[in-house]
Amino acid sequence: MTSYVPIADQSHVMHDPHTFITKYVWSQDHKVIAIQYGGTAIFVGLIALVLSAMMRLQLGYPDTFSFIDPANYIQFVTMHGMIMVIYLLTALFLGGFGNYLIPLQLGARDMVFPYLNMLSYWFYLLSVLILLASFFVTGGPTGAGWTLYPPQAILRGTPGTDGPGIILMLVSLLVFIMAFTMGGLNYVTTVLQARTHGMTLMRMPLSVWGIFVATILALFAFPALFVSALMMLLDKLLGTSFFMPALASLGQVSEHTGGSPILFQHLFWFFGHPEVYIVALPAFGLVSDVLSTHARKNIFGYRMMVWAIVAIGGLSFIVWAHHMYVSGMNPYFGFFFAFTTLIIAIPTAIKVYNWVLTLWHGNIRMTVPMLFAMGFIFTFIHGGLTGIFLGNVTVDLPLSDTYFVVAHFHMVMGVSPVMVLFAAIYHWYPKITGKMFNVTLGKIHFWATFLGTYAIYLPMHYLGFLGVPRRYFALGSTDFIPDSAMALNANITQAAIFVGVMQLLFIYNIISSLRNGAPAGGNPWESVSLEWQTPDTPPRHGNWGDKLPVVYRWAYEYGVPGVKDDFVPQNVPPEEVVMEPGAGKYVDRSEGHYS
C-alpha cells in the first residue's frame, strides 16, 4: 500500500467548513461545486431555451412579432448556440457531473485540488455574467453565429460590432476556458491519483471514463479556441490582421491585409469538433451506467466500451475539417477528412450495439431515468446516422448550410445529450438530495420531451433536403421552396413551444421534490457503483466517514448467478456476499476479464 492511504483514511485532516459561506458559497466541497455548476448551467440553459422559442416564433410565423427583427433574430441564433454548447452542455457534464461523480465513484474524499475547484466555478460564473452582460450593452450581443467566423464577426453589418457585444463574447470565452482548465486539470489528476484501494482504471464506471477522456480532449482542444478568440480580439481592438484579409466593407477599403479567415475556421473546428465529443463522451458514460443499473445487467462489452471511448476521443482530433467541406479550403482535404470521419462511425456504432445488447437478457425496470436513457438510444441512432450524410463529403455538398445540418446536430448534440442529462439528473437526484422525485411528473416530462423533440426535428431534415438555408430570418419568395414548407415551419414551432413549456415540469419537479419528495434511502436503484454506498445520503463533507471504501470488483456486478440479491456493490468483500442456499461460494467471474 502506498503512503497516501493512511492520510486519506484519516478523516480529521479534512478541513470541515463551519460557516454558511464556506459551506454553500465559497465552498471547496466537490458536491457543492457540482450543484453550483449545475444550477448555473441550467439557468443559462433556460435563457437559451427562451431564445430558441424566439427564433421558432419568427420562423413559424414570420412578420408577426414586433420584438423580432433581422438583427436580433441573428443575435438570438448566436447566443442560443453558444450558450447551449459551451455554457450549458460543457459546464453541466464536466463541471456538474464531473465534479459530483468523480470523487464519489472513485472512492475519493474530494477533488485533489479543492481550492482550484472552487475557483473554477467562480470563473465560470464570471464568464456567464460577462456573456449575459452583452444583452444589456449598446447594440446588444454579437450576431456572428456561434462559430464567430471572421471577417464578419468583427465588421459592421453584423450585430454586436458597433457596441462591445463581440468583445464581451470573446472575453467571456477566454474566462470560461480559464475556468475549465482549472477544473479539467483537477478532474484528470483526481482520476489518476485519488482512486481508492482496489479501484483500478479498468474497474472505473463508464461515467468516469467518459468524463475523464472528455476532459483530456477539452484540455487539448480549448487552447485552440483560446488563441483564436485572443487573436480575433486583437484584430478587433488593435487592428491586427490575423484573420482579416484586404477587403472593402460596405464600400470602405479596410486597413487590414494578409490575414486568413480560413485559418480561424481550422482553429475553431480543431476545438469545435472535439467539443462535440467533450459533450458526447460524458453522455455515453453516464447513459451506460443508467442503462446497466436499470436493466439489472452488466454493461455489455465493458472493455470494448472503454476502448471505444478512447478511440473516439483520439479520432475526434483528426476529423475537424468535415465542418469545412464547402469553406473554400483546399478541396483535396475532403478525401482525408471524409475518410477519418466515417471511420469514427465504427466505434460509435459499437457503443450503440453494446447499449442495446445490455438490454438483451436484462430485467428492465421502466424507471424515469431508464426511459430517458432508452430514449437517448433512439435519438442518438437517428442523429448519428444523419451524421454519416454530412460526414461524407459528397453528400455534404447539397446539405451543408441547410436545415438538414440544424436537424442533425440538434438530434445528436442537442436532444441526445439532453436526454442523458435528464436521465442522469433523475438517476442521481436521490443521492444528491436524499429525496425521490415525483415519478408521474417525470414520466410526463419524458414523453413530452421525447416525442415533442422528434416532432420538431424529423420534418426539419426534409426541409434541408429541399434546400431551405439555415440562419435565414425569412425565406421571402424562393421558387423552389413551396408554401407547404412554410406551413411545416409553423408546425415545428408549435412542437418546439410545447417542448419548451413542458420543461417547466422538470424544474418544478426537482425544486418541489426537495421539500415534498419521499426519503430515497442510500441506494434506491440497488446500484453497484461506489457513490451509492456512502455512509450518508446526501454524502457529507469527506464522503466516506472514517474509512475509505475498498473496491473488490468492477462497477457492473448485476445478476450474478447464485447471489441472493441481483447486484453486488463494489465495496462488499467477497466473503460477505450473501448467496442463495446451496449456491456455493461467491466467485467474482468478472475478474477473469477485468483484473
Binding site: 456504432a349 453528400v395 433536403f465 430570418f473 423552389f480 445478476g559
Partner: protein, 452 residues
C-alpha cells in the same frame, strides 16, 4: 409497454414520412446526378440500420421487461459477436464512403474544356464577371474598390480590359457546357448555392474558390447565400438563368466590358437642364419637391440612384403596380428620356441643384425610431443616413419625409420591391419587416429627420 409501442410507431412514422414527404431534393438541373445517387445509397444503408437496430431494441425491451423473479443473464462480453458487428459496420461504412470519394474526385477535378465565370459576393448583393473575347479574367483586388471601380479591377492588366462586368443580381449560363465558377468576395464570407445545381462553395475574401458543373436544364434558379454574412444575410439573393448558347451570347453582349464602363459618358448637367423642365413642373424648379403634387425632393439625391429609378420607371420595374398611383404617373414622364444619355444628363443636372433639406412634416417619436435605424436601416444607408453607393442604398437624410413614409408603406404592402427585376427593392421589401406598423414607420422617419 408504451415505450415499446412508441419506438415501433416512431420507426413506422419515420419511414412513412420519408416516402410520403412532399419535401425532397428539388429537381436537378446540373450534371451532378451522382450526388443524388450517393444520397440515396446513404439513405438505404442508414435507413436499414435505423429500422433494424430500433426494432431490435423494442423487441429486447419487450422480451426482457421487468419480471419479479427474472434474473438478468450474466454476460460481460461476447468477443465473437462484437467482432462480427464491427466487421459488418465497417462494410456498411465503406459502401457509403467509397462512392462518395469517387464523386468527390470528379468534383475537385474540373474538366479541361470548362469555361470560366466569376461570381462576386458582397454584403448583401451579387455581381458577376465574364472573361471577354480573350477568355481570360483580368486581375482584381478588393483594395482597389472605389465608387468608379466597384469590381476592384486592376486597370493595368490588359487581360481585364475586355472582361464583361454584370452589375446585377442575375447571371446567365449556357446550357450543357461545363463551367468553372470562380468565387470571390469583396468583404466577408459568403456562399454560392443553387439548390438545383446541388453544389455550393464558400466565397472567401482574399482568396478565389471554385466549383464546377454542367447546367443541364434550362430555367431560372435562385442563388442563395448560405454562409451567414451579417444581419441581412437572408436578403442576399440572386438568380441564374440557364439558356441556350444563342440567348446566352445575346445577353452577354448586352453587358458592358470593363473598358466600356471606364469610357462611360458622364452626364452633362447643361443638357439635362432642358429635359428637367418636365420634371420641374411637379418636383419644383430646384428639385425641392411639392407635397401638394405628391412629388418628393430630388435635389441632393445621388445620381446613380436617380438613374436607376428613372430606368425602373421607364421599363415598368417601378410604377407598374396597380396600387402605386403616384408611381404610375412617373412611368410616362420617365419615358420622355428616350436614351441612357438623356437619363444621365438629367440625373447630373439634378445633382447640381442646391442641397437644402426638405421641410419636416412627419410627427413621430425619434427616440423610438433610433434603435431600429441603428441596428437595421443605418447599416446600408449609413449611420448618418447619407447612403452608401457600394450597397446600392440611397441617401435618406434631408430627403422628403412624407415620401419616405409612403415608400416604406409601399415596400411593406408589396406595392414596391416585388417586381422580379427590382433586385434592391426586394431587399427593402424584406427589411421593412423590422418596422411592424405605421407608428414604427413614423418613428424611424422622425429619427431620419434628426440626421439632416
Amino acid at each position: 409497454m408504451p415505450f415499446i409501442i412508441s419506438i415501433i410507431l416512431l420507426v413506422v412514422i419515420s419511414v412513412a414520412f420519408h416516402f410520403l414527404s412532399p419535401w425532397w431534393l428539388t429537381p436537378i438541373a446540373s450534371n451532378w446526378t451522382q450526388i443524388d445517387d450517393t444520397i440515396n445509397i446513404t439513405f438505404w444503408v442508414t435507413g436499414f440500420v435505423f429500422v433494424v437496430v430500433n426494432l431490435f431494441m423494442a423487441y429486447a425491451i419487450y422480451r426482457f421487461r421487468y419480471q419479479k423473479n427474472r434474473r438478468a443473464k450474466y454476460e460481460p462480453e461476447n468477443k465473437k459477436l462484437e467482432l462480427w458487428l464491427t466487421g459488418l459496420t465497417s462494410i456498411g461504412v465503406a459502401s457509403m464512403l467509397a462512392p462518395g470519394l469517387f464523386v468527390w474526385a470528379d468534383f475537385v477535378n474540373v474538366p479541361a474544356d470548362a469555361h470560366e465565370v466569376e461570381v462576386i459576393g458582397q454584403q448583401w448583393q451579387w455581381s458577376y464577371r465574364y472573361p471577354g473575347a480573350d477568355g481570360l479574367l483580368g486581375a482584381a483586388d478588393s483594395a482597389l474598390i472605389t465608387a468608379e471601380n466597384p469590381f476592384g479591377m486592376n486597370a493595368d492588366d490588359p487581360n481585364g480590359q475586355d472582361d464583361i462586368l454584370v452589375s446585377s443580381q442575375e447571371m446567365h449560363l449556357p446550357l450543357d457546357r461545363p463551367v468553372k465558377v470562380l468565387l470571390r468576395s469583396k468583404d466577408v464570407l459568403h456562399d454560392y448555392a443553387v439548390a438545383q445545381f446541388r453544389v455550393k462553395m464558400d466565397m472567401v475574401p482574399g482568396a478565389v474558390t471554385y466549383l464546377w458543373l454542367t447546367p443541364t436544364l434550362a430555367g431560372t434558379y435562385d442563388i442563395l447565400c448560405e454562409e451567414l454574412c451579417g444581419f441581412a444575410h437572408f436578403v442576399m439573393r440572386g438568380s441564374v438563368v440557364v439558356e441556350d448558347e444563342a440567348s446566352y451570347n445575346t445577353w452577354l453582349a448586352s453587358n458592358p466590358t470593363y473598358a466600356q464602363t471606364n469610357a462611360r459618358i458622364v452626364g452633362d448637367p447643361a443638357q439635362g437642364q432642358v429635359f428637367y423642365a418636365v420634371c420641374g413642373a411637379c418636383h419644383g424648379a430646384n428639385g425641392e419637391g411639392n407635397i401638394a403634387l405628391n412629388a418628393p425632393r430630388l435635389a441632393g439625391q445621388e445620381d446613380w440612384y436617380l438613374r436607376r429609378q428613372l430606368q425602373y420607371f421607364k421599363t415598368g420595374v417601378r410604377g407598374a403596380h396597380a396600387d402605386d398611383i403616384f408611381g404610375q404617373q412617373m412611368a410616362p414622364m420617365a419615358a420622355v428620356l428616350a436614351t441612357d444619355a438623356m437619363v444621365s444628363n438629367v440625373a447630373a443636372y439634378i445633382q447640381s441643384l442646391p442641397d437644402t433639406a426638405a421641410p419636416v412634416t412627419v410627427t413621430g417619436n425619434a427616440e423610438n425610431g433610433r434603435p431600429v435605424f441603428e441596428s437595421t436601416c443605418g447599416i446600408c444607408h449609413s449611420a448618418s443616413g447619407q447612403g452608401i453607393w457600394a450597397v446600392n442604398a440611397p441617401k435618406l437624410a434631408g430627403m422628403t419625409d412624407w415620401y419616405l413614409v409612403r415608400q416604406l408603406q409601399n415596400f411593406k404592402k408589396g406595392v414596391r420591391g416585388t417586381h422580379q427585376s427590382d433586385e434592391y427593392g426586394f431587399q427593402m421589401n424584406q427589411m421593412v419587416s423590422a418596422l411592424k406598423d405605421d407608428e414604427a414607420i413614423n418613428d424611424v422617419v422622425a429619427y431620419i429627420n434628426t440626421l439632416r
